[in-house]
């Protein structure tokens, strides 16, 4: 990240020029100038290969590629979001892997982290875009409101206008968090702001979706590292997620899976099964339908993940996870009333649109009631 603490008197244009001279250095040169030894660098590469689920045989290749890579300019836009994604990344670990990756980029615009404010901040963004047109990485967190541009603006610019303007010169876009990737919480029924995802609006740029509420920090840095190492975007799944992190379900990688296979389930949060660490499927675990790296990468410096702490997976890296029918309802339980569905189906194909609309309205009307269903009594049943 650009250290601007000693550059308070410099104009945004001067800062960009200063950054340009830093960009001429390779990552290897930057690290060596910061006193990072080759051994430390190898350790960093080993940790990077591990977090990216790459074969350890790739360590020398990562080392070579990262050493000779130039620091890319990164512009980070935050729209309808809670800043949880930035918190996840910046408060993640002690300064080792994450900070090295973060130090390896030139973060030219991030309105939560940067020192500049107001017009100076926007000038820095515009200057970075001009200097690095076609080469910078655009990171977006938060969804974009389409019902009324006034719902969310930055420096008087609507989220939509800022996204479309900044995306023009981007080499690739990384949508961070479930809000940017699939609309997230703002998109939850009844979606009062008309929130949409980055992928709903941008069709002519490579987009990497890094969902999660928030995403695992090493997944964010892992994607950045992949771009730095190979100069390409990682292989993506059918909804734009890097397969290396989202290729397997939480369920398949869960250490409680053998209990599921044996039919041993916790029925409540304080029964014998819960105490014995049995499968949380019946308590609403969304692990079987959720694809993410939590079960192996884990959270809080690899300490644990929600299931290891005794709580079902909420499925936060999946589209519309807030409207999944209740966090504590088991997956096999229908999330839409079966009788109601049957009636609408019987209305026939010609009336399908009407039926769907009616069902959606029905869902909206029952949303509040549905949310109140999860009570302490429900948890204890």
């Amino acid at each position: 990240m650009t250290d601007r603490t000693n550059n308070k008197d410099k104009s945004p244009a001067d800062l960009v020029q200063l950054e340009k001279s830093r960009l001429d250095k390779t990552l290897g040169e930057t690290m060596r100038s910061q006193g990072v030894s080759r051994r430390s660098f190898l350790k960093f590469c080993a940790a990077t290969a591990s977090m990216m689920a790459m074969s350890p045989a790739m360590i020398p290749r990562i080392a070579h590629a990262l050493e000779s890579a130039r620091r890319p300019s990164v512009i980070w836009l935050s729209f309808q979001e809670c800043t949880g994604c930035t918190e996840s990344l910046t408060r993640a670990h002690a300064p080792t892997v994450e900070s090295l990756i973060f130090d390896s980029i030139s973060l030219d615009y991030h309105h939560t982290l940067q020192a500049a404010a107001g017009h100076a901040a926007e000038e820095a963004r515009e200057a970075a875009m001009e200097e690095n047109f076609g080469k910078y990485l655009l990171v977006v967190d938060g969804s974009i409101p389409m019902d009324n541009p006034g719902y969310s603006t930055i420096a008087g610019i609507s989220n939509y206008d800022m996204l479309m303007d900044t995306a023009k010169g981007a080499a690739a876009i990384i949508a961070v968090g479930t809000c940017a990737t699939y609309g997230g919480i703002p998109h939850a029924d009844p979606n009062p702001t008309g929130a949409v995802s980055v992928g709903d609006l941008i069709k002519d740029k490579p987009i990497i979706n890094v969902p999660g509420c928030p995403p695992i920090p090493v997944v964010i840095t892992g994607v950045l590292t992949h771009f730095l190492t190979f100069g390409t975007i990682p292989e993506l799944d059918h909804i734009g997620r890097p397969k290396v992190f989202y290729g397997q379900s939480i369920h398949d990688r869960c250490y409680r899976r053998p209990f599921y296979d044996k039919g041993l389930f916790a029925e409540t949060f304080d029964d014998e099964g819960a105490r014995k660490g049995w499968c949380l499927y019946k308590l609403g675990c969304k692990g079987p339908t959720t694809y993410n790296a939590c079960a192996t990468t884990k959270w809080n410096n690899g300490t644990s993940f929600p299931i290891e702490s005794g709580h079902p997976c909420l499925g936060c890296s999946e589209p519309d996870f807030w409207d999944g029918g209740g966090f504590y309802k088991a997956l096999s339980m229908p999330t839409v009333n079966i009788t109601e569905t049957a009636i609408y189906t019987a209305a026939g194909a010609a009336a399908a649109g009407v039926a769907l609309g009616a069902m959606n309205r029905g869902k909206k009307n029952s949303a509040a009631a549905a949310h109140t269903e999860t009570t302490i009594d429900d948890l204890e049943k």
């Binding site: 060596r32 990072v36 030894s37 080759r38 051994r39 430390s40 190898l42 350790k43 960093f44 080993a46 940790a47 290969a49 591990s50 977090m51 689920a53 074969s55 350890p56 045989a57 360590i59 670990h93 002690a94 300064p95 080792t96 892997v97 090295l100 990688r253 869960c254 250490y255 409680r256 899976r257 053998p258 105490r275 014995k276 660490g277 079960a295 192996t296 990468t297 410096n301 690899g302 300490t303 290891e308």
Partner: protein, 144 residues
């Protein structure tokens, strides 16, 4: 089932024991190490296994480490936090554990090799050391 439960804090204890082998991944991994050792003997090829890439239940990683034991060599490396490089009781099988500055494990590998590469002095560091030593000697000469 072993009587040695995993130590946990607080009143609630998960009833998971070291002998449980929940994921059934312990034995296959130990066999993989055996084949890697065979490959080292016959072809001189080294192997690295990333322990973090394998789903292991609490206690299973400990069981693997316990089975491998500790051998004659234990080295500590101070680079971006601590690293421990330990030769197991099976010569040629090393456990390399990298920590960050807060002493949290960031990666752990089993290396089957004569010596893990990270223990060797690195060419770039040797060159930097040569320059540094030369400068120091020159400065000393000037001051004397």
């Amino acid at each position: 089932m072993s009587e040695t439960a995993i130590p946990v804090t607080g009143e609630v204890k998960f009833n998971i024991h070291i002998g449980d082998e929940l994921t059934q991944n312990v034995k296959p991994l130990l066999h993989e190490i055996k084949y890697a050792l065979e490959n080292l003997i016959e072809n001189g090829e080294t192997s690295i296994i990333d322990l973090r890439s394998i789903p292991l239940a609490p206690g299973e990683e400990d069981k693997i480490l316990h089975t491998l034991g500790k051998g004659e060599v234990a080295a500590k490396l101070s680079a971006l936090g601590l690293s421990e490089i330990i030769e197991t009781q099976y010569a040629g099988v090393w456990v390399v554990t990298h920590y960050n500055d807060e002493n949290n494990i960031i990666s752990r590998f089993i290396e089957v090799t004569t010596m893990p590469n990270i223990l060797s002095s690195q060419t770039e560091d040797i060159m930097a050391a040569y320059s540094s030593l030369t400068l120091d000697l020159d400065e000393n000469q000037e001051t004397n």
